[in-house]
Subunit: 220 residues, 2 copies
């Protein structure tokens, strides 16, 4: 369909969790472009399509990013508090996620492709300089689902914002764009699976904040 393989929508939606352990195997360029095309089918503010997908796969660029990513992880994210949590609660889902993020921080340069999803900043006076965030995340979700159909794992991170000026200078990202999201992409080492989520009835209210949907409705 549309030059893509057949893949069930809900299989994609229910199994596209963050895959942070990726094999270094390269991804064919034609697959990458098909995935980006799928991303661009997403809606955006007045259909402005204010996105740029900046693909990085050269070893030098990946190493440059990987060094800084690891540094930012150690310095800003992997706090003493988080280390303690990991020691004391190693069997929790949070600890599992944290170990996966530690892996990414130490191996992000091994991912065959790093995608920087950039989005235009507003220019009108009330929001000047603010990135059009709502016009990039739907495309990213499409990208991750499409990658899933090709057997490719993705993760969404914004830790690169701690060293975004260095990145933007090296890659030439102009100031009118925000380098908003970093997506490592590659064939996963791990298995696909349904992510841990609260029940839908826990995050749904009907007509008024706090009013839960009728329980019967969840059985349907």
């Amino acid at each position: 369909m549309y030059g893509h393989p057949e893949f069930d929508l809900f299989e994609a939606i229910y199994t596209t969790r963050a895959m942070r352990r990726l094999k270094p195997d390269p991804v064919p360029q034609e697959i990458i472009m098909k995935i980006i095309e799928a991303a661009t089918m997403a809606p955006s503010n007045s259909n402005r399509q204010p996105w740029i997908f900046l693909l990085v796969s050269s070893p030098e660029n990946r190493q440059f990013i990987a060094e800084r990513y690891k540094e930012a992880w150690e310095k800003y994210y992997f706090t003493a508090e988080k280390k303690l949590f990991l020691e004391n609660h190693p069997a929790t889902p949070e600890a599992k996620n944290l170990r996966s993020a530690i892996y990414l921080a130490n191996h992000i340069g091994e991912a065959p492709l790093l995608i920087f999803a950039c989005v235009k900043r507003y220019s009108d006076p009330t929001r000047a300089g603010q990135p059009m965030v709502g016009s990039i995340y739907p495309a990213i979700q499409n990208l991750c689902l499409a990658a899933r159909a090709y057997g490719l794992g993705t993760a969404i991170t914004s830790l690169h914002k701690h060293f975004v000026n260095e990145i933007n200078q090296r890659l030439g990202v102009p100031p009118e764009y925000a380098n908003e999201i970093l997506i490592p992409l590659g064939y996963p080492r791990g298995r696909w699976g349904r992510p841990a989520r609260k029940p839908a009835t826990d995050v749904t209210f009907v007509e008024r904040w706090g009013a839960r949907p009728h329980p019967r409705s969840h059985d349907g």
Copy 2:
């Protein structure tokens, strides 16, 4: 799959465009909850799942919202400039979109369901009060794709922000949540179809800003 109908992923991705002309026919509650469950499979910052889906279908609430939505449309969005554009360029894709948005502004109360997608605000000092926007839009994209599979049309709007205090007071949305997105949902009057988008090669750079992918790569 996962209690949902079978539907092709790429068919969903390539035909889920904004559907602003909706029939008033009600949508079964069990379908709504399945769509919200699909939405919640989306990633979020540290898997916080900071979303609340506030469902509005009572005639009184819909009328309350519709009156204000139309007012906000006239007052803030449908400017003299846009009216002039519509008169002078009626055959453009932009004019087509604008007419569809005019329809929505005048008929939003007829949609059988209005979903307010709310998201928590950050509480840490550097970002205090800012909504976790990146943790709601991926879920919204899942929601729109899942709705498509059930034959349900959606559109994403944030025009309600012009009267969000009134809405939040009426529906009880607490200040620690941002009432970020309004999604009218219903069976569409129009037809599904591939939306107008720039070619993927126009929005992709390789290794450096401005460096287009090799043309061959797009043929693959």
